[in-house]
């Protein structure tokens, strides 16, 4: 989508950390011509009410995403590895603190 050039600047994706210590979450996108403008626009657009403690802006075309037509097969390999989950194991009754 971001390869589309228009006269209103390129597309940047905005990630915001709402509290120190929390993960950064995708909030939306902004148009801007350079990174300084992107971060200022993102501040004005997405953090008018103290929503932000940290912020990343990333050029949208720098993001690599899984193609939706094969996302199922892409994530398939984890389906047959139930032993990666703690509930897979049969343990003796009476076991404590584990």
């Amino acid at each position: 989508m971001s390869e589309v050039k228009d006269t209103q600047g390129q597309l940047w994706e905005v990630f915001i950390q709402t509290k120190k210590g929390l993960p950064f979450k995708h909030f939306g996108s902004v148009h801007a011509y350079d990174k300084e403008m992107a971060i200022q626009n993102a501040r004005d657009l997405y953090t008018r009410r103290g929503e932000g403690r940290g912020m990343w802006v990333v050029p949208a075309d720098a993001i690599v995403a899984v193609d939706s037509t094969d996302d199922e097969s892409f994530f398939d390999p984890s389906d047959d590895k139930v032993y990666r989950h703690p509930t897979f194991y049969e343990l003796p009754d009476g076991l404590k603190n584990m």
């Binding site: 589309v4 006269t7 209103q8 600047g9 939306g28 011509y33 403008m37 657009l45 008018r48 939706s68």
Partner: protein, 309 residues
């Protein structure tokens, strides 16, 4: 997979209340419907800044002025959330603006009415934003992910808009005789256009079928309109004003209000360009866009120069 098979799979996902994301397969008509609806929504937020922006320099106090500035800034923000969400469907911001300027994309007709007095700032926040909230709360459950997420964020912010509007109208209704008259007059002028914001009756709403099937729209125009009336009437009475509808009556059996006939001729006339401010609103938007062209060019040139260093 054939197109028909894909459509069946798509409808199955919709029926299972899956959210559709930008890169997912979707029928072309679904994409078109969303672009039309979401861009109209975005344009409404942006054009909606005009009647209120008009009062920023004439706000009666510094407090009122700061609030109005914040509200108008929010509307710009809502427009931008919605433009971004619309762009995920594969259309550029430039194209969206071009369609608005060419008259191919619409915006909410309510903004073709003038804001004549300070009381109108109250009526707009209270009734126009109130009607918009009723619609947008419902749209938080819309099937297209980016649209639904934009609605969640917008609804959070709209609540301030409605409360600030009601504060204005309530304080005027409690003021001098003249101020109370202004409050009632604003209510008289904005009541019916606010009801029209929900669109034609369900029986006359040609695009509702697909929109409901695809869960773009979750509730019908008439259901939403009734909900808005039911919650607003007591707000009118609380401050001693009168709903300008002689047929408005509580229906005990339905636990809801019956109301008078809406003037649909007026609704269609305003949509088709015959409202008091249609020409002015679009002209102003075009001028602002053209006046800003050198800024866009300068910013692009600056960015290019610095990227070479």
């Amino acid at each position: 997979m054939g197109a028909e098979e894909l459509d069946v799979l798509f409808q199955e996902r919709i029926d299972a209340n899956d959210k559709i994301e930008p890169r997912d397969n979707m029928p072309e008509e679904y994409r078109k419907h969303l672009i039309r609806q979401m861009s109209q929504h975005a344009h409404s937020e942006v054009i909606g800044m005009q009647p209120e922006g008009n009062w920023i320099t004439r706000a009666p106090s510094l407090r009122a002025k700061k609030i109005l500035l914040a509200k108008v800034q929010d509307e710009a923000g809502h427009g931008l959330y919605l433009y971004s969400a619309t762009e995920t469907l594969g259309i550029t911001r430039d194209e969206l603006i071009e369609k608005l300027h060419a008259g191919k994309a619409k915006y909410a007709s309510i903004f073709n009415y003038p804001a004549l007095t300070w009381a109108d700032m109250g009526a707009i926040g209270w009734l126009v934003d109130g009607a918009a909230i009723t619609n947008q709360v419902s749209l938080q459950k819309t099937s297209y992910g980016p649209y639904a997420r934009a609605m969640v964020k917008i609804c959070k912010e709209e609540s301030f808009h409605q409360r600030q509007g009601y504060e204005i109208i309530a304080s005027m209704a409690a003021g001098t005789e003249e101020q109370k008259e202004m409050a009632q007059d604003a209510l008289n002028r904005f009541w019916w256009p606010s009801l029209m914001m929900f669109g034609p009756h369900d029986s006359d709403s040609p695009r509702s079928g697909n929109a409901m099937k695809w869960k773009i729209k979750r509730e019908s125009n008439d259901v939403l309109r009734k909900r808005f009336i039911d919650k607003t009437v007591s707000q009118v009475e609380l401050i001693g004003l009168t709903v300008p509808d002689k047929d408005l009556k509580w229906n005990e059996k339905e636990q809801s209000y019956d109301f008078g006939a809406i003037d649909w001729d007026e609704f269609w006339a305003v949509i088709k360009g015959g409202g008091p401010c249609n020409i002015k609103r679009l002209k102003h938007h075009k001028k602002a866009h053209t006046d800003g062209e050198w800024v866009r060019k300068a910013a692009a040139a600056y960015a290019q120069k610095h990227s070479k260093k």
